[in-house]
Symmetry: C2
Subunit: 124 residues, 2 copies
Amino acid sequence: MGARRETILETIQQYVDLVATGSSADVVALYADGATVEDPVGSEVRTTREQIAEFYGALDGLEQSARLLHTRIAGNEAAFAFELVTKAGEQTYTLAPIDVMTFDDDGRILSMRAFWSGEDMLVS
Amino acid sequence: MGARRETILETIQQYVDLVATGSSADVVALYADGATVEDPVGSEVRTTREQIAEFYGALDGLEQSARLLHTRIAGNEAAFAFELVTKAGEQTYTLAPIDVMTFDDDGRILSMRAFWSGEDMLVS
């Protein structure tokens, strides 16, 4: 029967909030067992919880903010654009990827693929 | 080596323009042989040129406008949000899906998956 639309929306909002201001462990907890992460699309797919934890661990301690821009849900899949702003010293890095996710029936993330490339990173 | 980023961007812009104001034959011509269309995600995948032509044929003769909102390209894949406005009599229907496409090395569309659901259709 699939996850409820509201549950998927909540997971996406939590994901965006936690990527910016949560711990990497909080982000990883949104993923189902056996989940995969491909960020950016075309890079090697991370397939273990350890690899996924290492990936998000790179964000720990950074000064970040994020906001959800546009979300579309179809069944147990979703695509959404969000903006992630990272301050590092005098520099501000802004990236607005489009992520595509699939979900299990409890609304946990089964797969994430992030569409972006180097040209999309704005530095100010 | 893959399609050039600029070529993919051109195809996406042409797609959005032609969906709104071109003929369905123009839209179908952007697809490679063997391409697939899943619109919305979760519906039956159209796998033949005839099925794809029939799908876009439903748009012929409608009064429409469209604009590209947000595009992200990664290798030979892309995700983009666009807004399609359809006027029918006194009603205006606005839908802003997120489409995910893969491309061949010439920038023709190999697959299209459109993320949206009925809740996203605005009627005014």
